[in-house]
């Protein structure tokens, strides 16, 4: 996280993304009660992470871009070529799009060796058997699984299968690469390594990439830009550092581990929507969001006397053990609920338990206030 001012940082230039080789799409998809309405522009070379809860429409967006699903309305352009435009009855099927995809469970063809899986797309696009295998071999070497070239998919570990799937998608040199939860099926240890390698391969890949994930860490490490979807709509779009510092919805705030409060600012005071008044460091006016980390919240058994401007009384509503800290949820009547991170020894000394009365305090200077 960078400590910059409150001016929102713009992602890389997004104008004329499609003309420069990138993707420009207005995605309108209706399936019964479910609607997706997403405008997406990804310049060539940019890696975008689509982050969102289950059912937000992330995979639907990917399938529409891949051509596995038709738009209800809107259009998709890739490198100046119209791929889908229902109004003009234009639809380029998946096999003619040059859009690569890495599926969540990889979908490596079980009857083909790793090498033939990678060669499949090259063969389908007209390469001769020898040439396809030679190129596939280079790709397997590049992703580091050459020694498993002759293995069937069921003989591969999760990490190896993920690499083969990535090589298979990249070998056809797509203009756009789509990745649907590419790390979700991996265990924690493998994930760390595969995530770093994936980030490197995506940086080397020259085209646009859209990655679907619900893991904020994947998005932060791999992507140049994060787009958050909720219920089929974009709720936040920005650089990873910006999303991590200034979440715009409760879902994003939870993901990045911040307290997020809404209110209306008048000078150094913010009247909170959920009740109460908050002291902030920089004077603000109008509807604002206030974010502050749970680590900056202090808990007390008695009314504290100190420099912290924000002091509320409440009770412990929940305690949750994290890696080395305990996250306490404090319900303060007349105020929004707030998360506080404390050490286990503090829990013991203050005799914190669910239902225990506490005072919480946090400094105005620890809050980050930005326009709603």
């Amino acid at each position: 996280m960078t400590a910059s001012g409150s001016a929102p940082t713009q992602p890389r230039d997004r104008r004329d993304a499609a003309a420069g080789g990138g993707v420009a799409a207005q995605l309108r998809i209706s399936r019964g009660e479910f609607h997706v309405d997403v405008d997406l522009e990804v310049p060539q070379g940019q890696v975008v992470a689509l982050l969102g809860p289950n059912g937000a429409g992330k995979t639907t967006v990917l399938h529409a871009l891949a051509g596995l699903l038709r738009l209800t309305d809107g259009s998709i352009g890739l490198a100046g070529r119209v791929l889908d435009d229902p109004a003009h009855r234009r639809f380029v099927p998946a096999e003619q799009r040059h859009v690569g995809m890495v599926f969540q469970d990889y979908l490596l063809f079980p009857h083909l060796s790793a090498l033939d899986n990678v060669a499949f797309g090259l063969r389908a696009r007209g390469a001769g058997r020898g040439a396809a295998r030679a190129t596939a071999t280079r790709w397997l070497e590049r992703v580091g699984v050459l020694e498993h070239a002759d293995s069937r998919p069921r003989q591969l570990s999760g990490g190896q299968a993920q690499r083969v799937a990535l090589a298979r998608a990249l070998a056809t040199e797509p203009g756009l690469l789509l990745l649907d939860e590419p790390l979700a099926a991996l265990d924690a240890a493998t994930r760390l390594e595969v995530r770093a390698d994936l980030a490197r391969h995506l940086r080397e890949f020259g085209g646009s990439a859209v990655l679907v994930t619900h893991d904020p860490l994947d998005a932060m490490v791999i992507a140049d830009r994060i787009i958050v979807l909720e219920q089929g709509r974009v709720v936040q779009d920005g650089l990873p550092a910006e999303v991590a510092r200034a979440p715009r919805t409760d879902y994003v705030a939870r993901l990045v581990g911040l307290n997020l409060l809404r209110g209306a600012g008048t000078g150094p005071m913010v009247a909170l929507e959920a009740g109460g008044v908050l002291h902030v460091a920089d004077p603000v006016d109008g509807p604002v969001l206030v974010a502050f980390p749970p680590t900056s919240v202090t808990l007390h058994r008695r009314h504290p006397e100190g420099s912290a401007r924000n002091v509320w009384q409440g009770t412990i509503a929940g305690l949750e053990q994290h890696a080395h800290t305990v996250r306490a949820q404090v319900a303060a009547p007349g105020h929004p609920a707030v998360l506080a991170d404390v050490t286990p020894s503090a829990v013991a000394e203050l005799d914190l338990a669910v239902g225990a009365p506490v005072w919480l305090s946090f400094k105005a200077t620890d809050t980050h206030v930005y326009p709603a």
Binding site: G67, L68, M101, F103, L107, F109, A124
Partner: protein, 269 residues
């Protein structure tokens, strides 16, 4: 819970054990009878009789051709039934499986009425091309394919429905058109189902009797397949009939064993 175990152990009413044993004996004793009466010493002589060899060769050739016909026509039909959505699909499936339950002799009559010299299509074949199908080896293949195709279609349709269609999506994103995807992805994925269907189909074709004798008749070397030969030689040369029956029994056992293997490997993949 030993008491419950004991109660369950003694829970089978003895009155059921008797018919169960009878059923087992009823199913197995005829086969034992066949094996007991088999002239093992003269087996080679009987097997090399021209009439036996002729029937054996005809059955194998027609059975293989009928299976090939069923594969070429039945796999696409199974694909359409597994993938297409249209009104009347259930009715279509019922009609396709009708030959499974239809008495084969009725199938033979129906084929005769369609393809016979005075049949709906057969009269034109005769008038325009001078082709007469009944009582030819082709008729044997047609009769066998007619009764055996449903076995293949049902097996392949089930395999296609069970196959993960997202593999086809993956193939499409790699640039494979529908035909290439069908050949290189879909067919290999359902290969266990296709081979199981083909084996069932071949077994049914090999055992075909009613439709064959009705539509193709009984001419040695032309339409007299093994089941027909068994039936006819039973009067004149019972030992030859027994030997032919033994061959058919062995083929059936081989089919059963191969199917079991396929189903096990199909379930694990």
């Amino acid at each position: 819970m030993t008491s419950r175990e004991q109660r369950r152990g003694s829970g089978i009413p003895p009155v059921l054990l008797i018919p169960a044993g009878l059923a087992l004996a009823f199913l197995l004793l005829p086969l034992v009878g066949l094996l007991v009466r088999t002239p093992w010493a003269d087996l080679g002589t009987h097997l090399t009789q021209p009439a036996v060899l002729e029937a054996l060769r005809l059955s194998l050739v027609t059975g293989v051709i009928a299976t090939a016909v069923c594969l070429v026509l039945g796999v696409p039909l199974a694909w359409v039934m597994a993938r297409a959505e249209f009104p009347g699909l259930r009715l279509l499936r019922a009609l396709i499986t009708l030959p499974l339950v239809l008495p084969p002799v009725v199938g033979g009559v129906a084929l005769l009425l369609l393809l016979g010299r005075r049949g709906l299509i057969g009269q034109h074949l005769d008038d325009w091309f001078g082709i007469s199908l009944p009582f030819t080896t082709t008729a044997v293949v047609i009769a066998q394919a007619f009764v055996a195709m449903p076995f293949l279609v049902i097996a392949v349709e089930g395999a296609l429905r069970g196959a993960d269609r997202r593999y086809e999506d993956a193939a499409a994103t790699l640039g494979a058109g529908r035909w290439l995807t069908f050949r290189r992805v879909t067919l290999p994925l359902v290969a266990p189902g296709i081979s199981a269907g083909a084996v069932l189909c071949f077994a049914r074709a090999l055992g075909e009797f009613g439709a064959t004798i009705t539509f193709a008749g009984n001419f040695p070397g032309v339409t007299r397949t093994m089941p027909l030969a068994v039936y006819l030689t039973l009067e004149t040369d019972p030992e030859a009939a027994i030997v032919l029956s033994l061959v058919l029994l062995l083929v059936s056992v081989a089919v059963l064993v191969s199917l079991r293997g396929r189903w096990v490997s199909g379930a694990s993949s």
